[in-house]
Amino acid sequence: MKIEAYVLLFVGFFFGCAGLAYWLLSHEDAGSVMLLGTFLLGCLPGGYYLWWSRRMAPRPADDPKASVEDGAGVVGSFPGSSIWPFVLGLGATFVAAALVFGVWTLGVGLFLVVAALVGVIYESRRGGLV
């Protein structure tokens, strides 16, 4: 997990330096704020990973000598086929179209989005429909 953390912390380090240099040289707001945001984007998850990497046992994926059996067991739970991502995407498209064509597509869009959210939550609880 350490290398994963270092990759993100490097993002924070680099954009911290670049942002500081940019601000001192230009005093320009927009770019400096964006570089500050990028600095945080690297530091926050990177710091979190580093914090965890010192508290957890190395995973088989981090061990160069691990054999496939070391990772035996359940990898994770993966949803099977589901109609809800399609419904959610369709709903989001209708909501976006409402920004152009007016509110009449908003109703359809919101209905689909809410239906999809309900569907996804129920599916996660008891296994899917399709």
Partner: protein
């Protein structure tokens, strides 16, 4: 139906997972959360957008083939170059890489059963398809499609200069595809961080996977800025927000700042996946390990970092940016890119190179990207940029770059098509297609450098005969016809492979990375068994136990054995961590 994926056994018993009832046909296309189905959906959709955008490019070249042309109206011409650029950049080159090929290949390369968030992955695809459809819908509105260029500069993009539903559709479409890209970025990073197989350490991942990790992080840096900039633009157009309007105290150049803070990393979001494909393909077809693996990884990371601090080199002529900072940072990108070129050539050096179609496309990529890269270094110099800004020199520069990436995409198609379908594409027609593309690219875009130096501006629908642009434009349009033939030949090749299939087998290229250890196409959850992962080339170790270390490396190692600490490093360079990789599994 929730499925618990078990870690596959090494050469263990093959037992079927309980999948429940999985739909097929149209329902499978709509409901699948399998990264392989979604990856194929993405690839096919992106190629359709590529064909549409290519057709628009043909119309543009037809218009410019003769002076004072009236083939297209001024207005239609503006729509054509806007939608050509938008479809190619936002809906083809990016999504085909991070949504199509990476979605399919990355979980296979790290031995994962699926992406980390399968339903989010499916949602990414539907948002992408919805956004792309909304953008194309602009052609059917009364005011016609967006016509402010793919960069939509303020104040041209405000509601007075470009009114109508077409530009609005363009804006909301890109908000949707922006979310789609962000979700894919999250998915890629999480998958690579959490779902690697045992033994697949970070520095054993194939370079394509490394590049997709960095691309995922770049997406997370760049796309939120663009999506919010688009929301601001919509507010300006409809709610009178005056964010980009001078009249209300806004700053038009702020749009350029926000756009290019996305736009320049976007160039590398497009490029890095194809750098990865080229690295892997060159290593396989040179039958050597990647030369300077760690150098490649660090070069990728530095390119990504630098690419996010050079955005204003697109804005030199606005007069409000810090020229030395952005010029220096832009020059610096040439260093890691140069390292990559050095390592690509180093990988081929003294290898037994096979010139199959994917390898040809990679070599075409190297040559074309070199031209685009070197002219990019020129443009990073403010004096040269002031003279050539918004001329055809810039057009030629980025088309050299992007055509190189398209060749990288075709290398990926030819290389992984057998894995995705279980069928080979035909070599003969593939090679002819490559030569049409390579020659066509140079015939189309090299004259445009000269046109730019003669002063021809971008985005003009017509020019006078007395301008002296006619001959070079004719040559350029003839080159576009060659590109058309090349793409047509590729489609013929795909259709032919469905009509008369050539079975591919699991590993037709004798490739080395993990995706070639499973069947073609892979089963549900990808692997029924995994080879032990003891180096960067687990499949090679399994298929060629006698060749774990190359002969000339053995010779090199012979002299180094006495040096303390030297051996593990060198062994690591050829991808082995020392010891017998099969010691644990020798009796199996």
């Amino acid at each position: 139906m929730t499925v618990l994926a078990d870690r596959p056994e090494v050469f263990g018993e093959v037992h079927e997972h309980e999948h429940g009832h999985e739909p097929s046909g149209f329902l499978k296309w709509v409901t699948s959360t399998d990264h392989k189905v979604i990856g194929k959906n993405y690839t096919v959709t992106a190629v359709i957008f590529f064909l549409l955008a290519g057709a628009m490019a043909m119309l543009i070249r037809a218009q410019l083939a003769s002076p004072d042309s009236t083939f297209l109206s001024q207005h239609t011409y503006n729509e054509m170059f806007t939608m050509h650029g938008s479809l190619m950049i936002y809906l083809f080159v990016g999504p085909v890489a991070f949504g199509g090929l990476a979605n399919y290949i990355v979980p296979l390369q790290i031995g994962a059963p699926d992406m980390a968030f399968p339903r989010l992955n499916a949602l990414s695809y539907w948002l992408y398809l919805g956004g792309g459809s909304l953008m194309m819908m602009g052609f059917f509105t009364t005011g016609s499609a967006a016509d402010f260029g793919w960069v939509a500069y303020a104040p041209l993009s405000n509601s007075i200069n470009t009114p109508g539903a077409g530009p609005d559709l363009w804006i909301v479409a890109l908000i949707l595809t922006g979310f789609s890209a962000i979700f894919t970025g999250v998915n890629l990073v999480s998958t690579i961080y959490y779902l690697r197989a045992p033994g697949m350490t970070m520095f054993r991942m194939p370079i394509f996977t490394w590049n997709m990790l960095v691309t995922g992080i770049l997406i997370l840096i760049a796309f939120p800025v663009f999506t919010s900039a688009l929301v601001f633009l919509w507010c300006d157009r409809h709610l009178g927000a005056h964010i980009y309007e001078v009249s209300g105290g806004g700053v038009p150049v702020l749009w350029q700042d926000l756009f290019w803070f996305f736009g320049h990393p976007e160039v590398y979001i497009l490029a890095l996946p194809f750098f990865g494909i080229v690295t892997d393909v060159i290593a396989v077809f040179s039958r050597k390990p990647i030369f300077g693996y760690r150098g490649m990884v660090f070069a990728t990371i530095s390119i990504a970092a630098l690419s996010t601090s050079v955005w204003a080199h697109h804005m030199f002529t606005t007069g409000v940016v810090l020229l030395p900072f952005f010029s220096l940072m832009s020059y610096l990108i040439a260093v890691p890119t140069g390292i990559k070129f050095f390592n690509w050539i180093g990988t081929m050096w003294r290898g037994s190179v096979r010139f199959d179609t994917p390898m040809l496309f990679c070599i075409g990529f190297l040559a074309t990207f070199l031209v685009g890269g070197v002219t990019g270094v020129l443009l990073a110099s403010p004096p040269i940029d002031f003279a050539t800004h918004d001329t055809y020199f810039v057009v030629a520069h980025f088309h050299s770059v992007v055509m190189a990436l398209v060749m990288g995409a075709f290398a990926g198609f030819y290389y992984w098509y057998p894995k995705m379908t279980g069928r080979m594409l035909r070599e003969g027609i593939g090679k002819v297609s490559f030569w049409f593309m390579f020659i066509g690219t140079n015939v189309t875009f090299d004259p445009q450098y000269l046109l730019g130096l003669k002063g021809m501006p971008r985005r003009i629908a017509e020019y006078a005969a007395s301008d002296g642009y006619t001959t070079l434009n004719r040559i350029s349009s003839a080159g576009a016809a060659l590109l058309f033939i090349s793409v047509a030949l590729f489609l013929v090749n795909v259709v032919w492979s469905w009509w008369v299939p050539i079975p591919a087998g699991d590993n037709p290229w004798d490739a080395t990375t993990l995706e070639w250890a499973t069947t073609s196409p892979p089963p549900h959850h990808n692997f029924v068994k995994l080879p032990p992962i003891r180096s960067r080339r687990p499949v090679w170790d399994k298929n060629h136990p006698e060749h774990r270390i190359l002969e000339h490396d053995k010779a090199r190692l012979g002299g180094m054995l006495a040096a303390p600490g030297g051996v593990p490093v060198l062994l690591d360079e050829v991808g082995v961590d020392g010891g017998d990789p099969y010691s644990k599994d020798a009796d199996r």
